[in-house]
Symmetry: C2
Subunit: 194 residues, 2 copies
Protein backbone atom coordinates (compact mmCIF):
# COMPACT_ATOMS: atom_id res chain seq x y z
CA UNK A 1 0.00 0.00 0.00
CA UNK A 2 2.83 2.42 0.84
CA UNK A 3 5.03 1.46 -2.08
CA UNK A 4 3.70 4.19 -4.37
CA UNK A 5 4.22 6.82 -1.68
CA UNK A 6 7.83 5.73 -1.04
CA UNK A 7 8.58 5.72 -4.74
CA UNK A 8 7.03 9.14 -5.02
CA UNK A 9 9.19 10.70 -2.28
CA UNK A 10 12.34 9.07 -3.61
CA UNK A 11 11.69 10.08 -7.19
CA UNK A 12 10.70 13.67 -6.46
CA UNK A 13 13.52 14.29 -4.00
CA UNK A 14 16.24 12.26 -5.69
CA UNK A 15 17.03 10.87 -2.22
CA UNK A 16 16.66 7.41 -0.70
CA UNK A 17 14.45 6.55 2.25
CA UNK A 18 16.02 4.46 5.02
CA UNK A 19 14.10 1.57 6.58
CA UNK A 20 13.57 3.64 9.70
CA UNK A 21 12.17 6.48 7.68
CA UNK A 22 9.83 4.15 5.85
CA UNK A 23 8.59 2.76 9.15
CA UNK A 24 8.05 6.27 10.43
CA UNK A 25 6.03 7.15 7.36
CA UNK A 26 3.98 3.94 7.61
CA UNK A 27 3.10 4.65 11.20
CA UNK A 28 2.19 8.28 10.53
CA UNK A 29 0.01 8.04 7.41
CA UNK A 30 -3.37 6.36 7.81
CA UNK A 31 -5.25 4.53 5.11
CA UNK A 32 -8.61 6.00 4.20
CA UNK A 33 -10.96 4.43 1.69
CA UNK A 34 -13.60 6.52 -0.01
CA UNK A 35 -16.14 5.25 -2.49
CA UNK A 36 -17.18 6.95 -5.71
CA UNK A 37 -19.34 10.05 -5.06
CA UNK A 38 -18.16 10.42 -1.48
CA UNK A 39 -16.63 13.73 -0.47
CA UNK A 40 -13.13 14.23 0.87
CA UNK A 41 -13.93 17.82 1.73
CA UNK A 42 -16.81 20.26 1.28
CA UNK A 43 -17.06 24.02 0.93
CA UNK A 44 -16.44 25.70 4.27
CA UNK A 45 -14.29 22.90 5.69
CA UNK A 46 -10.79 23.63 6.85
CA UNK A 47 -8.39 21.19 5.25
CA UNK A 48 -6.51 19.63 8.16
CA UNK A 49 -4.80 16.72 6.37
CA UNK A 50 -2.37 16.11 3.58
CA UNK A 51 -3.84 13.41 1.40
CA UNK A 52 -2.03 11.21 -1.15
CA UNK A 53 -3.96 9.23 -3.74
CA UNK A 54 -2.81 5.60 -3.97
CA UNK A 55 -5.67 4.43 -6.15
CA UNK A 56 -8.65 6.22 -7.63
CA UNK A 57 -9.51 9.71 -8.84
CA UNK A 58 -11.21 12.89 -7.68
CA UNK A 59 -12.17 16.39 -8.69
CA UNK A 60 -11.94 19.68 -6.81
CA UNK A 61 -14.59 22.20 -7.81
CA UNK A 62 -16.46 25.31 -6.77
CA UNK A 63 -20.13 26.13 -7.18
CA UNK A 64 -21.08 29.66 -8.23
CA UNK A 65 -24.20 31.77 -7.53
CA UNK A 66 -25.98 30.28 -10.52
CA UNK A 67 -25.32 26.76 -9.26
CA UNK A 68 -22.74 26.04 -11.96
CA UNK A 69 -19.76 23.87 -11.06
CA UNK A 70 -16.19 24.76 -12.01
CA UNK A 71 -13.47 22.13 -11.74
CA UNK A 72 -10.19 23.65 -10.56
CA UNK A 73 -8.27 20.42 -10.72
CA UNK A 74 -8.42 16.66 -10.95
CA UNK A 75 -6.54 14.16 -8.82
CA UNK A 76 -5.40 10.62 -9.53
CA UNK A 77 -2.79 8.07 -8.44
CA UNK A 78 0.39 9.75 -7.23
CA UNK A 79 -1.23 13.18 -6.79
CA UNK A 80 -2.12 15.09 -3.66
CA UNK A 81 -5.70 15.87 -2.88
CA UNK A 82 -7.38 18.80 -1.19
CA UNK A 83 -7.28 22.58 -1.29
CA UNK A 84 -3.68 23.65 -0.81
CA UNK A 85 -4.70 27.17 0.19
CA UNK A 86 -7.02 25.95 2.93
CA UNK A 87 -4.39 23.50 4.16
CA UNK A 88 -1.57 26.06 4.26
CA UNK A 89 -3.52 28.98 5.70
CA UNK A 90 -6.05 26.91 7.69
CA UNK A 91 -8.89 28.91 6.23
CA UNK A 92 -12.29 27.59 5.10
CA UNK A 93 -12.13 26.29 1.57
CA UNK A 94 -14.34 27.40 -1.31
CA UNK A 95 -14.07 24.00 -2.93
CA UNK A 96 -15.66 20.60 -2.82
CA UNK A 97 -13.50 17.53 -3.33
CA UNK A 98 -15.48 14.55 -4.58
CA UNK A 99 -14.18 11.10 -5.43
CA UNK A 100 -14.86 10.07 -9.02
CA UNK A 101 -13.90 6.42 -8.39
CA UNK A 102 -13.57 4.14 -5.39
CA UNK A 103 -10.24 5.26 -3.96
CA UNK A 104 -7.49 4.44 -1.49
CA UNK A 105 -5.99 7.47 0.19
CA UNK A 106 -3.13 7.96 2.61
CA UNK A 107 -3.77 10.85 4.93
CA UNK A 108 -1.81 12.57 7.66
CA UNK A 109 -2.78 15.48 9.93
CA UNK A 110 -1.00 18.77 9.22
CA UNK A 111 0.98 18.83 12.48
CA UNK A 112 2.26 15.30 11.89
CA UNK A 113 3.14 16.18 8.33
CA UNK A 114 5.13 19.16 9.52
CA UNK A 115 7.05 16.91 11.91
CA UNK A 116 7.73 14.49 9.06
CA UNK A 117 9.05 17.33 6.93
CA UNK A 118 11.47 18.29 9.69
CA UNK A 119 12.54 14.70 10.28
CA UNK A 120 12.81 13.17 6.84
CA UNK A 121 15.02 15.06 4.35
CA UNK A 122 13.49 13.30 1.34
CA UNK A 123 10.08 14.63 2.33
CA UNK A 124 11.36 18.16 2.85
CA UNK A 125 13.00 18.03 -0.57
CA UNK A 126 9.85 16.62 -2.13
CA UNK A 127 7.75 19.48 -0.78
CA UNK A 128 10.17 22.03 -2.19
CA UNK A 129 10.04 20.37 -5.58
CA UNK A 130 6.28 20.10 -5.78
CA UNK A 131 5.80 23.71 -4.68
CA UNK A 132 8.02 24.76 -7.56
CA UNK A 133 6.39 22.42 -10.03
CA UNK A 134 2.97 23.55 -9.03
CA UNK A 135 3.97 27.20 -9.45
CA UNK A 136 5.14 26.37 -12.97
CA UNK A 137 2.11 24.26 -13.90
CA UNK A 138 -0.35 26.86 -12.65
CA UNK A 139 1.41 29.61 -14.56
CA UNK A 140 1.01 27.56 -17.72
CA UNK A 141 -2.67 27.09 -17.04
CA UNK A 142 -3.13 30.82 -16.48
CA UNK A 143 -1.39 31.50 -19.74
CA UNK A 144 -3.74 29.06 -21.49
CA UNK A 145 -6.80 30.54 -19.79
CA UNK A 146 -6.16 34.16 -20.74
CA UNK A 147 -4.53 33.75 -24.14
CA UNK A 148 -6.19 30.75 -25.81
CA UNK A 149 -9.65 30.17 -27.27
CA UNK A 150 -11.80 27.30 -26.02
CA UNK A 151 -10.63 25.14 -28.90
CA UNK A 152 -6.95 25.89 -28.32
CA UNK A 153 -7.34 25.17 -24.61
CA UNK A 154 -8.86 21.81 -25.46
CA UNK A 155 -6.01 20.98 -27.85
CA UNK A 156 -3.54 21.92 -25.16
CA UNK A 157 -5.30 19.67 -22.65
CA UNK A 158 -5.20 16.75 -25.07
CA UNK A 159 -1.44 17.15 -25.31
CA UNK A 160 -0.73 17.83 -21.65
CA UNK A 161 -3.10 15.42 -19.90
CA UNK A 162 -4.31 12.80 -22.40
CA UNK A 163 -5.16 10.56 -19.44
CA UNK A 164 -7.95 12.94 -18.43
CA UNK A 165 -9.86 12.19 -21.62
CA UNK A 166 -9.80 8.46 -20.99
CA UNK A 167 -10.78 8.76 -17.42
CA UNK A 168 -13.18 11.65 -16.93
CA UNK A 169 -16.52 12.38 -18.60
CA UNK A 170 -16.67 15.17 -21.13
CA UNK A 171 -18.92 17.25 -18.92
CA UNK A 172 -16.09 17.47 -16.42
CA UNK A 173 -13.42 18.11 -19.02
CA UNK A 174 -15.56 21.02 -20.20
CA UNK A 175 -15.87 22.35 -16.67
CA UNK A 176 -12.10 22.08 -16.23
CA UNK A 177 -11.60 24.08 -19.44
CA UNK A 178 -14.08 26.73 -18.33
CA UNK A 179 -16.64 26.03 -21.08
CA UNK A 180 -20.03 24.31 -21.28
CA UNK A 181 -20.42 20.64 -22.23
CA UNK A 182 -22.34 21.72 -25.34
CA UNK A 183 -19.47 23.89 -26.55
CA UNK A 184 -16.99 21.08 -26.00
CA UNK A 185 -19.21 18.64 -27.84
CA UNK A 186 -19.34 21.00 -30.83
CA UNK A 187 -15.59 21.55 -30.82
CA UNK A 188 -14.91 17.84 -30.89
CA UNK A 189 -17.45 17.35 -33.62
CA UNK A 190 -15.82 20.00 -35.75
CA UNK A 191 -12.51 18.16 -35.48
CA UNK A 192 -13.76 14.70 -36.41
CA UNK A 193 -16.79 15.22 -38.65
CA UNK A 194 -19.33 12.36 -38.32
Amino acid sequence: MFELLFQYFEQKSGLTLSTTEKELIESTFKLKRLRKKQYFQQEGDICKHMCFIVRGAARMYSVDDKGHEHIIRFGMEGWWLGDYESYMLQTPTRFHVEMLENSDLLIVPKEHMERLIETVPAIAATIKVIDKQSAIATQQRIHAAISLSAEERYDSLVKTYPAFLQRFPQTMIASYLGITPETLSRLRNKKTPH
Copy 2:
Protein backbone atom coordinates in the same frame (compact mmCIF):
# COMPACT_ATOMS: atom_id res chain seq x y z
CA MET B 1 19.37 50.69 -2.18
CA PHE B 2 19.42 47.32 -0.43
CA GLU B 3 17.12 48.31 2.41
CA LEU B 4 13.96 47.12 0.64
CA LEU B 5 15.55 43.76 -0.15
CA PHE B 6 16.68 43.22 3.46
CA GLN B 7 13.25 44.15 4.77
CA TYR B 8 11.71 41.80 2.25
CA PHE B 9 13.78 38.78 3.33
CA GLU B 10 13.23 39.51 7.01
CA GLN B 11 9.51 40.00 6.66
CA LYS B 12 8.86 36.98 4.45
CA SER B 13 11.05 34.64 6.50
CA GLY B 14 10.30 35.97 9.97
CA LEU B 15 14.05 35.81 10.60
CA THR B 16 16.69 38.49 11.12
CA LEU B 17 19.68 39.09 8.87
CA SER B 18 23.07 39.48 10.54
CA THR B 19 25.48 42.20 9.45
CA THR B 20 27.64 39.56 7.78
CA GLU B 21 24.68 38.21 5.88
CA LYS B 22 23.72 41.68 4.75
CA GLU B 23 27.24 42.30 3.51
CA LEU B 24 27.17 38.98 1.66
CA ILE B 25 23.92 39.94 -0.01
CA GLU B 26 25.23 43.39 -0.92
CA SER B 27 28.30 41.92 -2.54
CA THR B 28 26.34 39.29 -4.48
CA PHE B 29 23.43 41.27 -5.92
CA LYS B 30 24.28 43.81 -8.61
CA LEU B 31 22.35 46.96 -9.34
CA LYS B 32 20.87 47.18 -12.82
CA ARG B 33 19.00 50.19 -14.11
CA LEU B 34 16.57 49.84 -16.99
CA ARG B 35 14.63 52.67 -18.56
CA LYS B 36 10.99 52.59 -19.59
CA LYS B 37 10.41 50.42 -22.70
CA GLN B 38 13.67 48.51 -22.27
CA TYR B 39 13.46 44.74 -22.05
CA PHE B 40 14.66 42.63 -19.15
CA GLN B 41 14.13 39.48 -21.19
CA GLN B 42 12.74 38.49 -24.58
CA GLU B 43 11.06 35.41 -25.95
CA GLY B 44 13.59 32.65 -26.46
CA ASP B 45 15.99 33.88 -23.76
CA ILE B 46 16.95 31.62 -20.91
CA CYS B 47 16.42 33.42 -17.63
CA LYS B 48 19.76 33.20 -15.85
CA HIS B 49 19.18 35.71 -13.03
CA MET B 50 16.88 36.27 -10.13
CA CYS B 51 15.75 39.88 -10.28
CA PHE B 52 14.24 41.97 -7.49
CA ILE B 53 12.49 45.25 -8.25
CA VAL B 54 13.58 48.10 -5.97
CA ARG B 55 11.88 50.85 -7.93
CA GLY B 56 9.74 50.80 -11.06
CA ALA B 57 7.35 48.45 -12.79
CA ALA B 58 7.23 45.89 -15.59
CA ARG B 59 4.99 43.49 -17.44
CA MET B 60 5.58 39.91 -18.57
CA TYR B 61 3.63 38.97 -21.69
CA SER B 62 3.42 36.58 -24.60
CA VAL B 63 2.62 37.30 -28.24
CA ASP B 64 0.34 34.88 -30.08
CA ASP B 65 0.13 33.93 -33.79
CA LYS B 66 -2.18 36.84 -34.50
CA GLY B 67 0.26 39.26 -32.93
CA HIS B 68 -1.91 39.85 -29.88
CA GLU B 69 -0.20 40.39 -26.54
CA HIS B 70 -1.27 38.64 -23.34
CA ILE B 71 0.04 39.91 -20.02
CA ILE B 72 0.72 37.05 -17.63
CA ARG B 73 1.79 39.23 -14.76
CA PHE B 74 2.92 42.65 -13.67
CA GLY B 75 5.85 43.47 -11.43
CA MET B 76 6.50 46.40 -9.13
CA GLU B 77 8.54 47.36 -6.04
CA GLY B 78 9.17 44.36 -3.80
CA TRP B 79 8.29 41.78 -6.49
CA TRP B 80 10.50 39.41 -8.41
CA LEU B 81 10.82 39.76 -12.15
CA GLY B 82 11.28 37.23 -14.92
CA ASP B 83 9.85 33.91 -16.02
CA TYR B 84 10.04 31.55 -13.08
CA GLU B 85 9.69 28.49 -15.31
CA SER B 86 12.58 29.50 -17.53
CA TYR B 87 14.69 30.33 -14.47
CA MET B 88 13.98 27.06 -12.68
CA LEU B 89 14.21 24.72 -15.66
CA GLN B 90 16.73 26.78 -17.66
CA THR B 91 14.54 26.52 -20.74
CA PRO B 92 13.83 29.25 -23.32
CA THR B 93 11.01 31.48 -22.18
CA ARG B 94 7.86 32.20 -24.16
CA PHE B 95 7.56 35.62 -22.55
CA HIS B 96 8.83 39.14 -22.96
CA VAL B 97 9.53 41.23 -19.89
CA GLU B 98 9.36 44.94 -20.59
CA MET B 99 9.86 47.78 -18.14
CA LEU B 100 6.87 50.10 -17.89
CA GLU B 101 8.80 52.74 -15.92
CA ASN B 102 12.42 53.65 -15.34
CA SER B 103 13.46 51.04 -12.82
CA ASP B 104 16.17 49.99 -10.37
CA LEU B 105 16.69 46.24 -10.19
CA LEU B 106 18.88 44.01 -8.05
CA ILE B 107 19.99 40.95 -9.96
CA VAL B 108 21.99 37.86 -9.12
CA PRO B 109 23.03 34.91 -11.32
CA LYS B 110 21.23 31.63 -10.61
CA GLU B 111 24.34 29.82 -9.28
CA HIS B 112 25.10 32.65 -6.87
CA MET B 113 21.49 32.72 -5.76
CA GLU B 114 21.62 29.02 -5.04
CA ARG B 115 24.71 29.52 -2.91
CA LEU B 116 22.96 32.34 -1.04
CA ILE B 117 19.99 30.05 -0.38
CA GLU B 118 22.31 27.46 1.13
CA THR B 119 24.20 30.03 3.19
CA VAL B 120 21.54 32.40 4.47
CA PRO B 121 18.63 30.75 6.32
CA ALA B 122 16.40 33.79 5.96
CA ILE B 123 16.72 33.54 2.18
CA ALA B 124 15.97 29.81 2.14
CA ALA B 125 12.89 30.42 4.26
CA THR B 126 11.83 33.30 2.02
CA ILE B 127 11.99 31.10 -1.08
CA LYS B 128 9.85 28.46 0.59
CA VAL B 129 7.28 31.05 1.56
CA ILE B 130 7.06 32.71 -1.83
CA ASP B 131 6.76 29.36 -3.64
CA LYS B 132 3.78 28.56 -1.42
CA GLN B 133 2.26 32.00 -1.79
CA SER B 134 2.65 31.91 -5.51
CA ALA B 135 0.98 28.49 -5.69
CA ILE B 136 -1.96 29.93 -3.76
CA ALA B 137 -2.16 33.17 -5.75
CA THR B 138 -2.01 31.39 -9.10
CA GLN B 139 -4.72 28.93 -8.04
CA GLN B 140 -6.95 31.90 -7.25
CA ARG B 141 -6.28 33.42 -10.64
CA ILE B 142 -7.09 30.12 -12.37
CA HIS B 143 -10.32 29.96 -10.44
CA ALA B 144 -11.16 33.49 -11.58
CA ALA B 145 -10.22 32.75 -15.17
CA ILE B 146 -12.39 29.66 -15.58
CA SER B 147 -15.34 30.53 -13.39
CA LEU B 148 -15.89 34.28 -13.72
CA SER B 149 -17.17 36.48 -16.55
CA ALA B 150 -15.07 39.38 -17.84
CA GLU B 151 -16.95 41.79 -15.59
CA GLU B 152 -16.53 39.64 -12.50
CA ARG B 153 -12.82 39.22 -13.22
CA TYR B 154 -12.49 42.99 -13.41
CA ASP B 155 -14.31 43.45 -10.11
CA SER B 156 -12.05 40.88 -8.55
CA LEU B 157 -8.96 42.68 -9.87
CA VAL B 158 -10.17 45.99 -8.46
CA LYS B 159 -10.39 44.36 -5.03
CA THR B 160 -7.18 42.34 -5.18
CA TYR B 161 -4.79 44.74 -6.90
CA PRO B 162 -6.23 48.27 -6.78
CA ALA B 163 -2.70 49.61 -7.33
CA PHE B 164 -2.71 48.18 -10.87
CA LEU B 165 -5.48 50.55 -11.90
CA GLN B 166 -3.55 53.60 -10.74
CA ARG B 167 -0.35 52.52 -12.34
CA PHE B 168 -1.01 50.71 -15.61
CA PRO B 169 -2.96 51.80 -18.70
CA GLN B 170 -6.34 50.19 -19.31
CA THR B 171 -5.10 48.46 -22.42
CA MET B 172 -2.74 46.46 -20.25
CA ILE B 173 -5.31 45.78 -17.55
CA ALA B 174 -7.52 44.37 -20.29
CA SER B 175 -4.72 42.17 -21.56
CA TYR B 176 -4.08 40.93 -18.01
CA LEU B 177 -7.77 40.04 -17.68
CA GLY B 178 -7.78 38.25 -21.02
CA ILE B 179 -10.20 40.66 -22.74
CA THR B 180 -9.90 43.43 -25.33
CA PRO B 181 -9.47 47.11 -24.36
CA GLU B 182 -12.84 47.84 -25.99
CA THR B 183 -14.64 45.33 -23.81
CA LEU B 184 -13.02 46.72 -20.67
CA SER B 185 -13.93 50.26 -21.64
CA ARG B 186 -17.58 49.21 -22.05
CA LEU B 187 -17.62 47.37 -18.73
CA ARG B 188 -16.34 50.42 -16.89
CA ASN B 189 -18.80 52.63 -18.68
CA LYS B 190 -21.66 50.42 -17.63
CA LYS B 191 -20.62 50.76 -13.99
CA THR B 192 -20.28 54.55 -13.90
CA PRO B 193 -22.67 55.95 -16.53
CA HIS B 194 -21.33 59.25 -18.00
